[in-house]
Point group: D2
Chain length 113, copies 4
């Protein structure tokens, strides 16, 4: 991830894109790309989404790449790594969703017993 973040900084610097890469704009770009992942799945059944044909898989992989790029760039502009943020969040989630209560349930933590 550190490697990727450095490359992205360099990529933006070379193109003089720092001016466009405000956190506000990056959050928009992130959602645009996330929407393009969603587009790949919108008319598939859940089952179909578990066994994509190679063309769709390639497309989804590219869009996931885009989301990762903007996510890393956004986090970097705010001074942290998205991995660090994920690790912290995962710790919180373990508390919010204790195994004994959450097992087999898709409820939000506020709706567990």
């Amino acid at each position: 991830m550190k490697e990727l973040i450095k490359k992205l900084r360099n990529f933006a610097d070379e193109r003089d894109w720092e001016q466009f890469h405000s956190p506000k704009n990056l959050s928009m770009a992130l959602v645009v790309e996330a929407g393009e992942i969603l587009e790949c799945f919108q008319w598939l059944t859940e089952e179909q989404s578990r066994s994509l044909d190679s063309e769709t898989l390639k497309k989804v992989k590219e869009e996931i790449g885009d989301v990762q790029i903007y996510l890393a760039r956004l986090a970097d502009q705010l001074g942290f790594s998205p991995l660090e943020a994920a690790e912290e969040k995962l710790k919180q989630n373990k508390k919010k969703y204790p195994v004994e209560k959450a097992k087999g349930k898709a409820n939000k933590y506020t709706e567990l017993d």
Copy 2:
């Protein structure tokens, strides 16, 4: 990233959540969380988004954590790492946006002379 992916597999397994984690559903969860990042910035100016107060920053970091979690989980369900996808995409972007053409411009690659 490998470490995170393993933890996420384990987290889902323990809670018997594999049944909910179809790529279709994960793509939805990803966009929901990306929308929550967007929410933090929607009424801010670009300038304000570059210097967040500590409370908003904390909130954004949590949402970025969520997006990273779902992105890693989705990619893992499809058999690859989001970092790998990002590296591949970055290579493509370098070709699509050569420095001499893209410098200082926010145009899409299809709109660069």
Copy 3:
């Protein structure tokens, strides 16, 4: 719709919110609210989504109200009605998806024979 658009103008004027309601910001607010609709459905099966309990239905209706509000407001800022835009788009869709080719298929128009 005309009635709603007038009320929304008045609502924003009274609160001096015109300054925040740039099309850029409104497009963000629109997506944030659309994401909140998505949240209601993310872990449901398609079948479950066709028969919501009354609490979820109430929540979805509120979020649909929010999306309609921002959509109307955004279109109004750009000088047209969203209904007019929908009617025009529907005409295009009829050409893109002729009954004989599109019947029973979820493919994008570019992928119909």
Copy 4:
């Protein structure tokens, strides 16, 4: 709106698309199209977004048409009109954001004194 909703029912019926139009899937399509509106604005300044060139305006209008179509279709599948939902929500908003407290402020209602 009633006219549009009828046309959309007819459009889907003729193409045998009812099977794909679960509320879950429609909520995804809605967000995908909302993301395409966002894409038009992501690298523009707020000021630029207030005076679009004719090509971008045409594009945005089409995307707004798409969002209105899916929003109307989703609401119809759930048994109500999006206009009705918007009117109800607007009433709530008037209570949440009283003029004297909300004037000139972009805060969420939970953050107004």
